[in-house]
């Protein structure tokens, strides 16, 4: 069932306006960030602002094409696009140019191309297609696992480059799964993992584990309200762990305290299992599983942190968490970035007047740290305006997504929201020292053809779908 519709009438002008404002804002701030006395023309093609102008023109052409193309193209070719982009992500690992130890870019002479920027919309399309056919089934593992696989495949490939930023961005698609019915438990677990991750690095693991065990037993008492069960359970655990501790201390000598805790938890689990089976105490089972999971998780984080992470990565995390301060070493970027933004004050230093910006104290000023220029030259008011524009755009896109009659369009819309939101939060967050330095661009503002085009395609496919929302009732 198809209804003809005037696309120009149906397309959301507010979103297009926001898109244009952000893009032009980006262009002017790139001009300020790499301002060059000898090349004052903003159209000077030898400079980044001149190039960005070309990217902007090209992205507008691209946007027009996307809007002209029939929506069915995206349904039919979703998997092909995804497959092609996954292939490129694999290829870049082999043929990509090594920049700072990462293979993220193809280079053809003057032109570079970053496939991960495009993989985002491909993933969003496939996710929309896959879930469109299996909506209401996201509670089932047979749907959750393939969905997760669609997300994790590009995430893992970008992690191999390694491009931590893009990997993190792909994880944001789990927001879409949540919206479409995935259990919030998975979310809570994720959150718990995050909190435990920080605590593992922050405090002595033994105390952390003991603390969690105490909380678990208290929770058990809270749900069962039976003193006998509580005391017996605690007694069993304490007996086993005590015995194991003594055994390890005097005989084996090789387990270590953490392994003693894990083993006693597993051994006492046998006794707990009997009780759970007898009384059908599901809540106790959940608590036990969470407890066991947490302990195993803490041990693996600790192992991974001290054995798998490279020293400079550990250092970044430590600086981010505030364990360490080093304004001249790893923390230099963040420090200079915060100085730029902080020195902007309420109203900023004025366009092209930012000393930090003009004199190149912040690395990657036109790309990942473009927000410094805004913060320094436009001050708090300018920064809030940018945050406000994004907030407005994101809420507008959610509104658009929610008004879709097609599930495909809605899921895709949430994909766009998740991606843009993650970029927005991480990019600005790292510039003001809230988030570790993960190099990802600020959508529409940062310099770069790949990222601008990637985001343009991502956004305009959704605006195209939205424009013909009344066309299909699928």
């Amino acid at each position: 069932m198809k209804r003809s519709i005037n696309i120009w009438q149906g397309i959301d002008k507010i979103s297009i306006l926001l898109f244009l404002v952000l893009v032009i804002m980006g262009w002017f701030n790139i001009y300020a960030a790499v301002y060059n006395e000898d090349h004052k023309g903003i159209f000077d093609l030898s400079q980044r602002y001149g190039k960005q102008f070309i990217w902007i023109l090209a992205s507008l052409v691209l946007a027009v094409f996307i809007v002209i193309i029939d929506t069915r193209f995206y349904f039919f070719f979703a998997w092909l696009i995804y497959g092609g982009l996954i292939f490129l992500l694999m290829l870049v690992l082999i043929l990509g140019k090594d920049i700072n130890g990462a293979r993220s870019w193809f280079e053809f002479g003057q032109v570079s191309f970053q496939p991960s920027e495009f993989a985002k919309f491909g993933t969003a399309l496939v996710l929309a297609d896959f879930l469109n056919k299996r909506r209401h089934e996201l509670t089932k593992l047979k749907v959750i696992i393939p969905s997760a696989a669609i997300i994790l495949l590009p995430a893992i490939l970008t992690a191999l480059q390694p491009d931590l930023g893009s990997t993190v961005v792909f994880f944001s698609f789990f927001v879409v799964l949540y919206r479409e019915g995935m259990s919030p438990f998975i979310f809570v677990s994720g959150l718990l993992m995050l909190v435990l991750f920080f605590f593992t690095l922050l405090i002595n693991d033994i105390y952390l584990e003991i603390g969690i065990i105490v909380i678990a037993f208290l929770l058990t008492w809270l749900v069962t309200r039976k003193w006998k069960v509580f005391v017996t359970g605690l007694g069993i655990f304490l007996f086993i762990s005590g015995a194991l501790y003594v055994l390890d201390h005097f005989v084996i000598n090789s387990l270590g305290n953490k392994l003693v805790i894990l083993l006693s938890l597993i051994l006492s689990g046998i006794a707990f299992a009997y009780y759970i089976y007898q009384k059908k105490a599901i809540s106790v089972l959940i608590i036990y599983l969470f407890l066991l999971g947490s302990i195993i998780y803490i041990d693996s984080v600790d192992y991974g942190y001290s054995h798998l992470l490279k020293p400079h990565q550990r250092e970044r995390v430590e600086i981010m968490l505030g364990f360490k301060s080093d304004p001249h070493g790893t923390g230099y970027n963040v420090n200079q970035s915060m100085i730029s933004i902080g020195s902007g004050g309420m109203t900023g230093k004025g366009y092209l007047q930012g000393t930090q910006t003009k004199f190149k104290f912040v690395p990657a000023q036109s790309t990942d740290f473009i927000f410094c220029t805004i913060g320094e030259e436009w001050g708090f008011l300018g920064s809030v305006t940018v945050v406000g524009l994004y907030l407005f755009l994101l809420l507008r896109l959610i509104m658009l997504a929610e008004r879709q009659r097609s599930v495909f369009s809605r899921i895709y819309g949430y994909g766009v929201v998740s991606i843009l939101f993650t970029h927005f939060f991480i990019n600005i967050g790292m510039a003001i020292g809230l988030v570790p330095v993960i190099g990802i661009p600020l959508p529409f503002l940062s310099y770069g053809g790949s990222s601008l085009w990637g985001f343009t395609i991502l956004l305009f496919i959704f605006l195209r779908l939205d424009a013909s929302r009344t066309e299909y009732l699928v």
């Binding site: 915060m338 902080g342 004050g345 945050v387 949430y414 939060f425």
Partner: protein
């Protein structure tokens, strides 16, 4: 087809709003609440280059240039801004080793990573020229022009003082000084530091992340200009100073010449001395150590830091006090039988009046005079009479600092009555206990400058101006009013005439005159010899004099250590100085004297100085 999860959109919307708010709050904190970031941004980009003013020049009383400046260049470094550079080229340009580079960098980092510190002091103009061209290759380094002192003649080191780097304790005391700053030490340089140093200026530049200068900040509106230090017109006569130093070469001792009418110090010689040029620039510390180790103590300024018993040069002042106290009259005669009690005297006609006693330097006469002073029936006790005597000495500036610009001048010693009461009993001590004070020996110490000041006071017939080394600051800048205040001594001028008669006779008199060697053809010199006994070796030869008798132009005290009688060496030196100053040259008749003094070498004798610490 109901969407049962539609409410989850609120969770997502909520998440987005909360995150945006967190971002805004954090922005508010760093942009609006905290202002440290603005300061850091300024620190990043603003380079404050101190504009060092040229230090004021020093002229002599006749407008001859004594001290001026030469250009020097300090190589500065800001460790935080250094980057990759060719260290071997850098080292060869500067003529240093890599080890030195490493060591200097380390000490610079220890001081501060962000603030500039001196990397290499006072590089030569040639090195500077070579280096300047390649400056862009060495990020974090820049050259700071400075000035060094230069001396027109290698003289007057003691009274000029020197300029050295401000040390840490001083920097802590006076926030004006920063590490690497120069400050005057001793002499005029220290006394007039505030005038000489001028006012520092600062130029503010903006630099980029490679510390390349990108232009001046705020179009130079915030810059301040360095204001050159004020010039000092010194009271000294450079020619006279140089001549005095020549006369004193190969001798230890000092000369202080004062213009009685003003208290201006015409020459201030302390021997042995040193070339002030030795304490300038990079050679300074090495030479300073060498001078410090010298057993003849060339750094020690004898003119006002050595305290000697005044010897017979003290007789005129005792005569003056006795006259004023009316215990003797000019015509009072005392007999002398080659001594008085246990104080010996030489052979001369006897009895003598006051004039004759001064002329012949009769010990007996002054012992008896001094007894009369202390046993004066007007006072209840010897202590009280002694106190009165001391109060006259106070008026002359003895026993305390004169108050010249030289902060380290010694007060000398005139003990209070209690000192002797402690020794000899409160009411039982007698004039005879301290009778040696009559002839300037015993428990008293005076500096050459105090003696010259006393001579000036005698020349003025009863007043003096505090001796000072500076005539004016800049052109017409007035000096401290303490130096233009007349200090009146409560002794009648008529009494001075009697003593001056004796001093004139000592130089120009007939048989028995002790200082005839100091006589000049056309100038009436009034003087008094002295022989300061000292326990370390041969007596010090002392002579005080002023000339001409009427309307005196110069008052002088000369000390030649371990040289014997005052007449032997100190008197001819004083005579030569006086002639040089008043006539401009030495007369034929006195040439042999000049020759004799110039050739005299007493330096092999052990130095003997009594100093107070």
């Amino acid at each position: 087809m109901k969407d049962i999860y539609v409410n989850r959109k609120y969770v997502i919307i909520g998440l987005i709003i909360v995150v945006s708010l967190i971002l805004i709050i954090k922005m508010f904190v760093i942009q609006v609440v905290e202002d440290t970031y603005r300061m850091s941004a300024d620190n990043n980009v603003l380079r404050y280059v101190t504009q060092y003013p040229a230090r004021g020049l020093i002229y002599d009383r006749n407008g001859k240039l004594v001290v001026f400046n030469q250009a020097a260049y300090d190589l500065m470094v800001i460790p935080a801004q250094t980057g990759k550079m060719d260290t071997s080229l850098f080292c060869s340009d500067l003529g240093i080793t890599k080890a030195i580079l490493k060591e200097k960098m380390k000490s610079a980092v220890t001081y501060s990573r962000r603030a500039p510190s001196v990397f290499l002091k006072q590089i030569s103009a040639e090195t500077y020229a070579k280096f300047q061209e390649k400056m862009f290759m060495y990020p974090g380094f820049y050259v700071q022009p400075r000035t060094l002192r230069k001396y027109s003649r290698p003289v007057a080191a003691h009274l000029l003082g020197y300029v050295s780097e401000a040390d840490e304790s001083l920097i802590r005391q006076d926030p004006y000084y920063k590490p690497g700053d120069y400050i005057g030490k001793l002499g005029i340089e220290e006394a007039y530091e505030k005038e000489l140093r001028g006012t520092r200026g600062v130029k503010i530049f903006m630099v980029d992340v490679y510390s390349r200068i990108k232009g001046s900040y705020a179009e130079g509106d915030m810059d301040t200009l360095a204001v050159q230090g004020r010039d000092i017109i010194s009271a000294i006569d450079l020619d006279l100073q140089e001549y005095g130093e020549r006369l004193m070469q190969n001798k230890t001792g000092s000369i202080v010449a004062i213009e009685p009418g003003t208290g201006e110090i015409l020459a201030l010689v302390s021997s042995p001395n040193y070339d002030p040029g030795l304490l300038v620039g990079r050679i300074r510390s090495e030479n300073f150590t060498g001078l410090q180790a010298d057993t003849l103590l060339p750094l020690f300024n004898r003119a006002f830091m050595a305290s000697y018993p005044p010897g017979s040069t003290f007789k005129p002042i005792n005569g003056l006090i006795a006259l004023q106290e009316k215990v003797i009259y000019p015509s009072t005669r005392f007999g002398c039988d080659n001594g008085y009690l246990f104080v010996a005297c030489h052979s001369h006609s006897s009895p003598l009046d006051l004039e004759g006693a001064i002329m012949n330097s009769c010990n007996s006469y002054f012992c008896q005079t001094y007894r009369r002073i202390l046993e004066n029936p007007r006072y209840a006790s010897v202590s009280e009479a002694y106190g009165k005597w001391k109060s006259y000495l106070d008026e002359f500036g003895f026993g305390k600092k004169l108050g010249s610009e030289f902060v380290n001048e010694l007060p000398g010693l005139i003990p209070p009555p209690s000192y002797f009461e402690r020794f000899y009993g409160k009411n039982t001590w007698k004039a005879l206990n301290v009778i040696s004070l009559a002839i300037g020996q015993g428990e008293i110490g005076t500096t050459p400058m105090q003696m010259a000041n006393m001579t000036a006071a005698i020349a003025n017939r009863g007043y003096f101006y505090t001796p000072h080394i500076v005539k004016s600051i800049g052109s017409g800048g007035r000096i401290d009013s303490a130096f233009t205040t007349r200090h009146k001594i409560s002794i009648d001028s008529v009494n001075f005439e009697s003593v001056i008669n004796g001093m004139e006779a000592a130089v120009n008199g007939g048989a028995g005159a002790t200082a005839r060697i100091a006589a000049l053809q056309d100038i009436i010199v009034c003087g008094k010899t002295g022989t300061a006994e000292n326990p370390h070796g041969e007596d010090h030869s002392v002579f005080i004099a002023f000339a001409p008798r009427d309307n005196p132009k110069i008052a002088i005290a000369v000390y030649v250590e371990n040289a014997g009688f005052g007449a032997t060496y100190a008197a001819p030196v004083a005579s030569l100085i006086i002639e040089k100053y008043l006539k401009g040259e030495i007369s034929e008749a006195n040439k042999w004297q000049e020759q004799r003094i110039l050739e005299l070498n007493l330096i092999n004798k052990l130095p003997a100085i009594e100093t107070e610490h």
